[in-house]
């Protein structure tokens, strides 16, 4: 439905977007994830026709929409909600009515549509309230209603819940899902919260330094990050440099910091790689018996314990190799984990993910 072709945007000599290409399919929720300040907002503003790219173009159903005038009817097919929730200094009713009035709808029709939208967003009876007195979450719901009441084909959301509390975030997410599923609206959103991407998106693209580094299903990105940057962003705690030294029964053996690790991978012998292992994929024991099914077994010493709520990250050292493993709070007490304790780490070969050595590798 939307074809983004080689978009580049330059502000005063700085490239905010570099050669961004992607196809957004009709009816999907597509999320751009990535840390703040990487170009997500600029890309969405170009797609929302608020900015023009320096080069490249955006095609909507085959027609270029990058250099339209402010009056072009295509603009009315694309709705946009912004990160900073603001409301017009007016009643809730007039806030939602504005786009309908631009489109010349009659009074009765406007009223009917607004009452229905107020009901959908859970603010029935709020029509005469001053919109500026609403809470942040309520304002953002009004913003969503203001756009959706005009019936756009494409809804663009720039970090729609970045400034909201968890309860309001859930309400907004439910509404996004509702509009996508019930009305078939194509949704393009950005978020720095990859878990939100996981909850909502059919497909995601990871944006870093103004480029899409990786795109695919959230599962692909989560399990097979294509570069160290992506791996770090999605929270993989163990990223190690290594080299494929031989193959055994189709399994690659990687030498990293003097330790051999078994992994599934296509890389030929001799390739330098980065090894990514999620701390939650590593099992930690103090006894000898329970790790028999795992291909990788590493003996080491606890170097530190870092609590993260109910779970903790245990730092373990084996020669020059440092790894983090995730254990529950309870296990820490049961196994009496503290620096200096001897432990055994085990993890399966499929839990080890191999990435190319060089960073910023686009692998799409």
């Amino acid at each position: 439905m939307i074809d983004i072709r080689n978009l580049t945007k330059e502000f005063d000599g700085n490239y905010v977007l570099t050669d961004v290409s992607e196809t957004i399919r009709k009816g999907e929720i597509f999320a751009i994830i990535g840390p703040s300040g990487q170009g997500k907002t600029t890309l969405l503003r170009i797609l929302g026709l608020l900015e023009r790219p320096t080069s490249g173009q955006v095609l909507l159903e085959g027609r270029s929409i990058t250099h339209l005038s402010d009056n072009d009817p295509v603009r009315r097919r694309i709705g946009m909600v912004f990160q900073n929730h603001v409301a017009f200094k007016d009643s809730v009713y007039n806030n939602i009515a504005i786009g309908l009035r631009y489109r010349g709808f009659g009074k009765d029709e406007i009223k009917k549509k607004i009452l229905q939208k107020l009901d959908e967003i859970g603010l029935a009876g709020y029509e005469n309230r001053k919109a500026t007195t609403l809470s942040g979450g309520e304002k953002q719901r009004v913003s969503l209603a203001r756009v959706m009441v005009t019936g756009p084909d494409i809804l663009i959301l720039d970090e729609p819940t970045a400034n909201l509390d968890p309860v309001s975030t859930e309400v907004i997410e439910d509404l996004i899902r509702y509009y996508n599923k019930e009305l078939g609206t194509t949704v393009l959103m950005s978020t720095h919260d990859l878990i939100q991407g996981q909850r909502l998106a059919d497909r995601v693209a990871v944006m870093m330094n103004g480029r899409f580094i990786q795109s695919g299903t959230i599962f692909d990105v989560f399990t097979r990050p294509c570069s160290v940057d992506v791996a770090k962003f999605i929270g993989i705690g163990n990223i190690l440099p290594g080299k494929v030294i031989r193959k055994e029964d189709g399994i690659s053996v990687i030498l990293t910091h003097g330790v051999e690790i078994f992994a599934i991978g296509e890389n030929p012998v001799g390739t330098r790689v980065k090894v990514a292992i999620r701390p939650e994929e590593i099992t930690l024991h103090t006894g000898p018996d329970r790790w028999s099914s795992a291909r990788n077994v590493i003996f080491g010493t606890v170097t530190g314990v870092r609590p993260f709520g109910i779970i903790s990250l245990i730092g373990v050292k084996s020669g020059d190799l440092h790894l983090s493993a995730q254990v529950t709070w309870q296990s820490i007490h049961e196994l009496d984990l503290k620096p200096g304790v001897q432990v055994v780490l085990s993890f399966k070969a499929p839990s080890v993910h191999l990435m190319p050595e060089e960073n910023h590798h686009e692998c799409r």
Binding site: R45, V86, K89, R146
Partner: protein
């Protein structure tokens, strides 16, 4: 102190008995001030909008210049208008010198800068997300402008009040262009000036109270509209 008290008493008396001279001056003042505020509004708001929403070379300089003209002395406006409207001046054909029309002309010129400048400030103070929202909802050029003016309506009203206050209280232009002709171009401020120089403090005070009362009523009305 006693003089002041008796003055105020006399003043209230003059107002209560609806002294024809006082009424005459008051109505003329309102007529001239409202006319110049209306004219200035018609010019300043579109001008301020155009300056705010268009990008052109020297925009910042122009805005600074407009802000400098907030301090435009009334006597300078009086002088310029006198030269323009005098028999031999470029607008001499209008025969507006020493007429209410001439005073309206002068006061309009006097308050255009401050009303334009404050309109620009009002429109620039709108949150950029509001502007983005208006654009992305597909507003036409006119709808874009109307929505922005509506969003800035309280600050724009304040600009109008400031213009009104400056027009109703100025004396320099009124006396130089109007000439303070009794029954013709005499307004509250010029009358106060004359009566004071003639020693009629009570009448001066009465006129002063009326002037302030008008300003009060206008402000109360605007405040009421804003709180609605």
């Amino acid at each position: 102190m006693n003089d002041l008290l008796t003055g105020i008493q006399t003043a209230i008396g003059l107002i209560l008995v609806a002294d024809p001279e006082v009424l005459n001056i008051t109505f003329r003042t309102l007529q001239i001030t409202f006319s110049s505020v209306l004219l200035s509004t018609i010019i300043a708001i579109p001008l301020g909008s155009a300056i705010t929403f268009r990008n052109f070379h020297g925009k910042k300089t122009l805005i600074s210049l407009i802000q400098t003209l907030y301090a435009l002395p009334t006597v300078i406006v009086g002088l310029l208008c006198y030269m323009l409207l005098s028999r031999s001046g470029p607008l001499g054909e209008l025969r507006w010198l020493f007429t209410p029309n001439g005073m309206i002309f002068g006061q309009t010129i006097l308050i255009i800068p401050i009303m334009t400048g404050l309109s620009i400030a009002a429109l620039q103070a709108i949150d950029p997300v509001i502007t983005d929202t208006i654009r992305s909802l597909g507003a036409s050029r006119l709808q874009f402008l109307r929505s922005h003016l509506r969003e800035a309506r309280f600050a724009i009203m304040a600009a109008i009040i400031v213009g009104f206050s400056r027009a109703i209280s100025e004396v320099g232009t009124a006396i130089m262009i109007g000439g303070n002709i009794k029954g013709h171009t005499r307004v509250l401020t010029t009358a106060i000036s004359l009566q004071t120089s003639m020693g009629n403090f009570n009448l001066s005070l009465a006129l002063g109270i009326i002037l302030l009362a008008i300003a009060l009523v206008i402000n109360l009305f605007m405040g009421f509209v804003q709180n609605r």
